[in-house]
Chain length 143, copies 2
């Protein structure tokens, strides 16, 4: 038992992804009203800033929105970099969701296409982060 | 039943976070040997590039490493931007893990500190992505 406890104590467990947002209300509208995530908790950082944790229905994967006002210690001019390649969201009907989400204001990145039995499409969040929609390719399933 | 099926079909479920890596072997060494994640699957993108999905023991949260060679359609010169604020990893003893990980070559970002009952520290991955180590503040617990 002691060995298990010690072993568990050494575990480093991936808990959530924090993305930086330039406008918290705008991003909350996007991730809640367009993507359908739900707010779990929100708090303030001592160094300045607000964090809001979100979760999709039926997922334990957590997304945190991090907003830093200009006076916060870790504020920086926003630079759309390369390091976050994409956030992936699973859904049953990629084509339908793509039409629905873009009609709700999500920017298109790549229209739906098929690859290796999956249906894929990409949209952009309000800060330009690529959102992947992925699901099984229904045409493959029907064969 | 039909209503439930239709409702589930509309669910968009956050599935994983994909980060862009400049050197796949170097990043795999970091996330596997230093952070302790395990490889779940790997594949190739038709547009060029390799993806590797990783998971921590005791976590369903998925991290995907995306590597694009210079000839790939979505290759770009790497720019350490602002959009990915941090990847958070939960661990029991933040101070110990911080010492351990930095001795294994992880770059220091912020030394351990306490805030609101939590113990926090930040290191950097090989591409400069901030990794948060978070755990309960043991000194608070002892009170």
């Amino acid at each position: 038992m002691k060995r298990t406890a010690r072993k568990n104590g050494k575990v480093i467990r991936f808990a959530y992804t924090g993305i930086r947002v330039r406008n918290l209300d705008r991003s909350l509208r996007f991730y809640k009203n367009v993507i359908g995530m739900r707010e779990l908790l929100r708090g303030r950082m001592k160094a300045g800033g607000v964090f809001v944790q979100l979760r999709s229905p039926k997922s334990k994967q957590l997304l945190e929105l991090n907003y830093y006002p200009a006076k916060a210690k870790y504020y920086e001019t926003f630079d759309s970099g390369s390091e976050l390649d994409h956030l992936a969201f699973w859904t049953e009907d990629v084509d339908k969701r793509f039409r629905e989400l873009t009609s709700k204001g999500a920017k298109k990145a790549i229209s739906p296409f098929s690859e290796d039995g999956y249906r894929l499409a990409f949209i952009k969040d309000p800060d330009g982060i690529w959102i992947e929609l992925i699901g099984l390719d229904r045409r493959t399933k029907r064969k």
